[in-house]
């Protein structure tokens, strides 16, 4: 593990109304690795992921205590400015949600928000990111067609390219392959493995096989608490905690 983790969570508690979703979460996310968050549904894995870029802000009656340090800055500090925090993280949601505009404009959306890039730079950037997600050859002749015309798998890769275009440090994936066919899933998984050279990648998944295929570390969350955290193979093959053992064997779901 590197000395200065991009994301460091300290005593994080999240509750919505009277319902405690996350309890006293403390963890350092290793840099430039793929980290999977696993756990039964409703255990708080998605909430944990969304707490990293403050997407919980708009949830009614949400209460967050504790710290999430992003490059040393506490993002829950009242003075923290939220847009540059979110810019550091690309989010890939369960189903692809392309913005209602062309393929080109989807990728250019982020860069245009954060500056006034020249057309040449923008063209270059769109090409780079579409190549990074393996979409370029499929779409280079119809960049100005509506993004919704792409297949679901292509849309998800477009969403990834869109996220990469703002030059984040971290990619968050919330069950990003659950709506995709097996071929698209494996393309996305390969992308994750490839992209970890440059980015820290945190994935929520409920597919243990996927966690094993792509991730370097696994966080097991149960009932709002982190039960166990460790390197993938170790955690899956030789879990230390009883709960982890039961989950990995399929007794808890």
């Amino acid at each position: 593990m590197t000395n200065n983790p991009h994301i460091s969570v300290q005593h994080l508690n999240v509750s919505i109304g009277n319902h405690e979703i996350l309890k006293d979460i403390t963890i350092n996310i290793p840099n430039k690795k793929v980290i999977s968050i696993i756990g039964p549904s409703g255990c708080g894995k998605t909430t944990l992921l969304k707490s990293f870029n403050r997407l919980l802000d708009d949830t009614p009656d949400v209460k967050v205590t504790g710290k999430v340090l992003l490059d040393g800055e506490n993002i829950y500090d009242p003075k923290a400015e939220v847009t540059h925090i979110r810019k550091k993280m690309g989010l890939l949601s369960q189903r692809p949600y392309p913005l209602p505009m062309s393929i080109y404009d989807n990728v250019a959306y982020g860069p245009r928000l954060h500056g006034n890039p020249k057309k040449v730079e923008l063209d270059q950037l769109v090409e780079t990111q579409l190549k990074a997600t393996g979409l370029w050859n499929e779409v280079k002749d119809r960049l100005h067609a509506p993004a919704t015309r792409l297949s679901i798998g292509q849309q998800q890769r477009l969403c990834l390219a869109r996220g990469l275009a703002v030059e984040p440090e971290i990619i968050l994936g919330d069950e990003s392959t659950s709506a995709l066919d097996p071929v698209s899933t494996s393309i996305i998984e390969d992308l994750f493995i490839h992209l970890k050279q440059k980015y820290t990648i945190v994935l929520v998944t409920h597919i243990l096989r996927q966690a094993r295929r792509v991730s370097d570390y696994i966080i097991f969350v149960y009932m709002g608490k982190i039960i166990e955290f460790g390197p993938t193979e170790e955690l899956l093959l030789n879990p230390q905690k009883e709960l982890t053992k039961e989950y990995v064997k399929g007794f808890i779901s």
């Binding site: 847009t83 959306y109 968050l172």
Partner: protein, 297 residues
Amino acid sequence: MQFRLLKDKVLSKLMLLLTILSVSVVLVIGIGLYYKSIPVLANSSWWTLLTSSDWKPLKGLFGFFPFIMGTLWVTGIAIIIALPLCLLSSFYITEYAHPRVRKVLVPFVNLLSGIPPVIFGVWGVLFIIPLIQNHIAPHFVEFSTGYSVLAGGIVLAVMIFPLIVSIVCEVLNTIPKELKEASLSLGATKWETIKKVYLRKAKPGIIAATVLAISRAFGETIAVLMVCGNNAAVPHSVFDSGYPLPALIANNYGEMLSIPMYDSALMFAALLLFIIILLFNIISRVILARLERKLAA
């Protein structure tokens, strides 16, 4: 067993009949109005009736141009005022307002749509007219009584506000949360998200709401009649008085029998209003269908 099936058959036919009966009222009204307008149409051509500004019922001169313009002015002003206001309010209610605030605001908006038009008229006379006469008009023109197309437009704007807001809010609520999160996670502010994503996604809904509001505004009678001056001349500024078609009909319906052809002229006014609204709805439906096809593609 047989009886159950029979009942189903009979009922379905009955429903069809009743539906056709209700819908055919549109046709019946259209034909009836045309039939009643024949005398005035026999006297002058469509073109003269539509483009002449001479309104002298005693001499048998019926020029509807001032009334058509009055209707367009009042409706136009109402939409220009109401649309930005409604959009901003809808965005506030759906995106920015705390749920508790929203719970208070939404019933108030709905309450506004329940207030009878005549009360809006009284409010216009007591509040808007003096406001225009004493505080707004003096900055722009030498003299205005306050009874003007602007007053009519303002009152109408308030009346169509709840209609547009409730529809647009509904439309905005159907936009998936994840689309908003996608934009926010790229570092967009809420306003940027609204401007670049929501406005695009909600465009057909916003247009539909506007169309409905305009149709409503075309036909609104009593509140407008009370504040817009009812002077049969083409308005040239927002401070001039106007005389929209519905007000013309409502104001003169009682006395029309004493003047020859007056009744026919008023029926023609009704026919005009009917045609304007019909045409407007057809055109907007075509635009909407095209837009939806473009978005779906």
